[in-house]
């Protein structure tokens, strides 16, 4: 794929329209990398002038902050802000709600002020502006349910952009009993992704997967690489891999362009 970096752009004296913040999961996790590529496919299709930081990108520090390590978070944040400000970045899009949240809400008071989009908001904008069109070819009539990532939904009150995108695909969107502001966490937030859960009687991702399975959906759509991992694990745990797929909204859109 052709993915320009900010350094290359700068060398050519160009300033891209938007910086794509890939995030650690999107850069390294095999499943999340597919989401990253799907989103880049969309950016290409819509002729978006974008770039990534590439090897100059480093952790936003979000997971460290949720774990309580404010030092590490602020160190990461200040390093990132220096790089971002150095490249005069004004607009950022990311497919990770955790990066979205921290870049949008927690970087400004440390000197990083950017217009930050979650990729579902950005894709919606592309569609609304007519820069991108979707067909109803592959997914039409499929039964889809949407899992709200906490850091997009409750944390930032963004419930509609992802749903708007799903509805445009001609699918049958069926809500889980807990959705939007009452959605149940997938179990990865607050740095839980990186540790074993405390003792209890069930794993959170299994409980959430049960919510999703109740809807009889063929596809569980989500907008977060960590939610994706948790839900995929939940589906495996329930032995439903043959019947149910967990896909990012970017992957759904990429199928229809």
């Amino acid at each position: 794929m052709i993915v320009p970096t900010m350094a290359e752009m700068m060398a050519q004296g160009k300033q891209p329209e938007v910086l794509f913040w890939v995030g650690a999961a999107g850069s390294f996790d095999d499943r999340a990398k597919k989401i990253t590529r799907a989103f880049v496919k969309i950016l290409h299709k819509a002729n978006v002038d974008f770039a990534v930081l590439g090897t100059e990108e480093t952790s936003t520090g979000d997971a460290a902050k949720r774990a309580g390590n404010e030092f590490l978070f602020q160190m990461q944040a200040m390093m990132n802000i220096e790089v971002l400000n150095g490249y005069k970045v004004t607009t950022i899009v990311t497919a990770d709600p955790h990066s979205f949240n921290t870049l949008k809400n927690e970087y400004p008071s440390l000197g990083g002020n950017y217009k930050v989009f979650h990729h579902t908001q950005f894709i919606k904008k592309l569609l609304d502006e007519g820069r991108l069109t979707v067909a109803n070819a592959v997914l039409e009539g499929k039964r889809v349910t949407y899992h709200d990532p906490c850091y997009l939904g409750r944390a930032n009150d963004e419930y509609e952009s992802p749903r708007d995108l799903i509805k445009r695909l001609g699918v049958n969107l069926t809500e889980m009993k807990r959705h939007k502001s009452t959605a149940l966490c997938c179990g990865a937030g607050g740095a839980q992704m990186f540790k074993e859960p405390e003792k209890g009687d069930k794993d959170i991702n299994v409980l959430r997967t049960e919510d999703a399975l109740e809807t009889q959906a063929e596809i569980i759509a989500t907008g977060c690489p960590y939610c994706n991992t948790m839900m995929t694990d939940g589906i495996k745990f329930k032995n439903k891999e043959a019947e149910v797929e967990v896909l990012d909204i970017a992957e759904l859109i990429a199928k229809e362009i």
Binding site: A24, A67, Q74, N101, C150, G189, K195
Partner: protein, 438 residues
């Protein structure tokens, strides 16, 4: 001797209200044990929140059954208390139903009539509440933090309300001239016949006793608030006013840390610089919270405001999957510790005497703190905008930054971020590999 009842009434009222004010001042003193935090910005949004959420009960009705019942009790309680004004005037000046003469009988009848209907509705709602707690056993009233006092407290409040409402109706039903007026007695007219067989004098005594019991009951209830979860009827208002207005995902950036990090990253900083004159003995600011005095005053007010309804806990993913964490218990434990600190200050002449205890470990365990997914479900659910998550995060900060006591896997994650800029052990130089794969 003619004025004896009036004098007794004045005494009872002064003692009742005075004692309450004394305790209320303790509540305020305890809240002020918290650190300062500025919540005076954006006044219009704050007033709007208070009107919508506290006055308007907007978040209560997200759960329609308990929500609507609560609105009934809330409205009933607020409106019927207009009657208390009359009771106080009557009590102080020896009048009887003073508003009957001030207002026209029709207006007065309408008012008392609506109070009676509300009182009956409150009575019924409270019975449903009692059934939900004790017969249907709604799960959130039976979590493990709801044993003993918290469980009894919930029921006592319901009994109080039942008795107060019943006394109000009995008082009206046994007021013979009032019943004879046949106005404003839509409910009590059905109760009045129960007393028919008694002679008028006995009925009058019952009326007087109900009147006294009603006002004394209200004063006792007022004083009960301080010892109970029921303080929310007052604190819900400031609590919603001073609540966080930022997006829920935004955690504050610790300023003390910012200073240190800026110094660390400043190439011109002198690593050998002596501390500024006069600052040598300053204790560096503690990071995070291990006790209630490390929390801010809004967090402490949150703890007093919590009425232990458990909506937070019933939405908490950790609690739903059997983990130790319960956001309601976080609030209850914070209040318990705060009250312990307050009592300590009272018994030691205004000075806190070290008691070898703290909020962390003695009340809230690291196991609870580490089970949180920071999903904000508890914050979203709270009908009065309490924020248990902010307390959890403050305490995690203490564990990590003061004690280096994070779970092993999290330490690995953080080391990875420090060393290679990702929570996993991947090579920073491989960050862009995805573009050439597939």
């Amino acid at each position: 001797m003619h004025y004896l009842p009036n004098i007794i009434f004045a005494l009872v009222a002064v003692v009742g209200i005075g004692f309450f004010v004394r305790n209320l001042r303790k509540v305020i003193r305890n809240i002020k044990l918290g650190k300062s935090v500025d919540r005076t910005d954006n006044q219009s949004a704050r007033w709007k929140n208070m009107i919508k959420i506290a006055l308007g009960q907007y978040k209560m009705v997200r759960r329609p059954i308990s929500g609507i019942l609560h609105v009934v009790v809330y409205l009933g309680f607020v409106i019927i208390n207009i009657e208390v004004l009359e009771i106080i005037i009557d009590g102080l000046f020896g009048t009887h139903r003073v508003f009957q003469d001030v207002l026209s009988p029709a207006v007065y009848g309408f008012l008392i009539g609506s109070f009676e209907i509300l009182a009956a509705l409150v009575f019924m709602a409270v019975i449903v509440f009692w059934i939900r707690r004790n017969v249907i056993k709604v799960k959130r009233f039976w979590n493990k933090e709801m044993k003993g006092w918290p469980k009894n407290d919930g029921n006592f409040i319901l009994y109080f309300e039942m008795v107060l409402m019943a006394l109000f109706i009995v008082m009206n039903a046994t007021d013979i001239p009032f019943q004879a007026g046949e106005i404003g007695n839509p409910i009590s007219q059905f109760v009045a016949p129960w007393f028919k067989s008694l002679n008028p004098e006995t009925i009058h005594i019952i009326e007087q006793s109900a009147w006294w019991a009603h006002i004394i009951g209200i004063l006792i209830f007022l004083n009960y608030l301080y010892y109970s979860k029921h303080l929310h009827i007052l604190l819900a208002f400031p609590n919603t006013f001073f609540a966080n207005l930022n997006p829920k995902g935004q955690f504050d950036n610790l300023e003390a840390v910012t200073k240190e990090v800026q110094l660390m990253m400043d190439p011109d900083a002198d690593p050998y610089a002596a501390p500024e004159e006069g600052t040598e003995n300053e204790v560096p600011e503690k990071f995070g919270a291990s006790d209630v005095t490390d929390l801010n005053w809004v967090q402490l007010m949150n703890a007093y405001t919590c009425t232990e309804c458990g909506r937070c806990t019933s939405a908490c993913p950790a609690n739903l999957t059997g983990k130790e964490l319960s956001p309601r218990a976080i609030m209850m434990k914070t209040r318990d510790r705060m009250e312990e600190v307050g009592k300590n200050i009272d018994t030691n002449g205004g000075e806190f005497k070290e008691d070898g205890k703290q909020l962390l470990n003695d009340y809230i365990t690291p196991e609870e703190l580490w089970a949180c997914t920071s999903c904000n479900a508890c914050v979203e659910e709270c009908p009065v905008n309490i924020d248990p998550l902010s307390i959890i995060v403050e305490m995690r900060r203490y564990l990590v930054m003061e004690q280096s006591a994070a779970p092993q896997e999290l330490n690995m994650m953080m080391t990875n971020i420090e060393n290679n800029g990702a929570p996993w052990q991947y090579n920073q130089m491989d960050r862009l590999n995805w573009k050439d794969e597939e």
